[in-house]
Symmetry: C2
Subunit: 374 residues, 2 copies
């Protein structure tokens, strides 16, 4: 009862798995749309469900500040508050707090910071991060970590990773809520040996799942891929592996190839609001003048609501005119693209042809792979 992970099949290093939670099961590899403030921007929970989203992510930092975890707890937790019936994952708030730069101060005890909204002072310790996340009531919560910035010296990355490990132990100790899974976060910057030490330390403490943090923080794509492909196979086979804050469709395909199971990113939703749309042949900038009279959908054959009903010409018009409907229709398409991508990945692994899938994925983009699947 409660949380579980089952590895159903492996195809090379790629994994097909299943997460069980109190709010239902999730087939992996999975992409989690981001509901920063208790809503995936522009979308209702019912639309997310229709699109095939099965688990969404809430941001602890943002919800702690607005409307406050206590208010959310009083209304049945994040599930009740935002009317999402499926599983939810909350991050620990660490990433957002560290992004505050000069507005925060890190000590052994935790982080003191000022709200980006009103400048008010707050303090989050590992214990407090767990308290907030228990109140929010997600199915999966994250240990409070220091997200090591890029670039970081070996010295800084080491100290940071060790602090994250001590905090992880305190999170584990503080966590009480039944049926709620707690994941540990591997840090160590771009240093493979530090990553290994971090993972070993976390596994000793023991978590329901393990995440790679501190990637997609500004490093070159090659460095990210090197860390992910090095770390993923070392992570416990019988636990879900979560790559935090990643990423582009290409990043996801590569990380699945390396053995990761879970992903989250604002990429599909944020780029949609900026007018960039994903297709199997690459990205389409909808405001482009060449779509003026283009009666085709964003992508021929796409079965999303937007492509079934609207032309590029109309979408260009709406976007240029600043119509809010444009942001919705773009978001629907991009999330649909991600959901179909993940379903295709899962099917390919099930059928033992992930390598071929990966090659075709790049072929459609007019790009030939120069490295074999890991």
């Amino acid at each position: 009862m409660g949380f579980g992970f089952e590895l159903l099949k492996a195809d090379g290093k790629a994994r097909r798995g299943r997460i069980s939670t109190l709010h239902g099961t999730v087939e992996t590899p999975v992409f989690m749309p981001v509901a920063t403030l208790g809503a995936v921007k522009t979308m209702t929970p019912h639309e997310l469900e229709e699109l095939g989203a099965r688990i969404i992510l809430g941001n602890t930092y943002h919800l702690y500040l607005r409307p406050g975890h206590e208010q959310i707890a009083a209304t049945g937790g994040l599930h009740g508050f935002m009317r999402w019936k499926g599983p939810v994952l909350t991050d620990s708030g660490g990433f957002q707090v560290f992004s505050l730069g000069h507005l925060r101060k890190i000590t052994e005890e935790g982080v003191r910071f000022q709200s980006h909204i009103d400048g008010s002072y707050h303090f989050i310790s590992p214990e407090k991060a767990i308290e907030i996340q228990e109140a929010l009531g997600a199915d999966i919560i994250m240990a409070f970590d220091e997200c090591t910035p890029y670039p970081a010296t070996r010295e800084y990355a080491t100290a940071s990773m060790e602090l994250t490990e001590r905090w992880a132990a305190r999170c584990r100790e503080a966590h009480r809520r039944e049926g709620q899974a707690l994941f540990g976060i591997v840090q160590g910057g771009m240093y493979k040996d530090l990553r290994e030490r971090s993972l070993e330390g976390l596994v000793k403490i023991g978590f329901h799942g393990y995440a790679l943090g501190g990637v997609s923080v500004g490093e070159p794509k090659e460095e990210m891929e090197a860390i992910v492909s090095h770390c993923a196979p070392l992570m416990p086979d019988d636990r879900a592996r979560y790559l935090m804050g990643v990423g582009t469709p290409e990043d996801i395909v590569e990380s699945v190839a390396a053995g990761m199971d879970m992903f989250d990113c604002v990429m599909p939703t944020r780029t949609a609001r900026h007018g960039t749309l994903f297709t199997s042949e690459g990205r389409l900038i909808i405001k482009n003048a060449r779509f003026q009279d283009d009666e085709r959908p964003i992508e021929e054959g796409c079965e999303c609501y937007t492509c079934r009903h609207y032309s590029r010409a109309y979408l260009k018009h709406l976007f240029r005119a600043g119509e809010l409907l444009a942001l919705r229709l773009n978001t629907i398409h991009n999330l649909h693209y991600y959901m179909v991508l993940m379903a295709s990945i899962r099917q390919a692994i099930e059928e033992g042809r992930f390598d071929r899938f990966r090659n075709e994925f790049y072929y459609k983009r007019g790009r030939v792979l120069d490295t074999p699947a890991t």
Copy 2:
């Protein structure tokens, strides 16, 4: 075949009617949501249909500038462009052009103006307004009028009304499109005799329907009600009567009582985006701190999607956080309120109890009518 209006029943001066168009029938009294730029802000056509909207309004001025009537014509007109299957009405662009103030110059021939978007020069004559509206392909189009400002001297209002009449004749002469109805617009400012002269002149020219323009342009509510209640009964019985740009729920109830059939206004959609929500007891400002822990829907018993799923506390949070979903959920509620109001009005007239309906409408708002129904 084509356009028609049938008066089904009268209850005092209030009328229950039916408009027939090539894109379906519309039961009156009716409220038309405004799709300024080819979309009712935040909403899909399918959602509008679900809400009970049967006819929507497009703005000629805006669509002429962006994306241009020729492009819209090439994609099957406004119906095809925005994927709305039901009837559409377009205004003539007059109101928007006159709102440009120093950016426009009126002559006998028409109006020269600068785009509010890029400052480019344009000229719209009555003939051009018809050409644009024929291209947009609405089921009902409007004659090009000068919207008399408020306040206006008797001299100005007279000249303006006479110009509008000459333009109306030119519109009638220019109009060719089969199955498309052309409505004339009564002007004359706040001068009842000028309004009468305007109406007589238009009736002599002969239109498929008649509208009252130049109201809700800044005049006190009493002046508007005086003009509407004076003019409505004088308008031809066998033609639809359209009150342009009106209004609040109260305005609509009063104007139905006076004998008007059709209404349009940005009120429900715009106020929704500003966080003001309509209820049978009055307006609710959703950002108000007192809704912090309020688990009730916007209005108990309301069957809109928003009220069936979300609490005031959640809606307050979304709105304060600037979430786009807030604008959608608020818009759904307000449009639903207007659609239910119109359905209730139609039913009350059918059952010969509009007067009682009107009294109850005000009673719920804690306001006792000091004037009997007209």
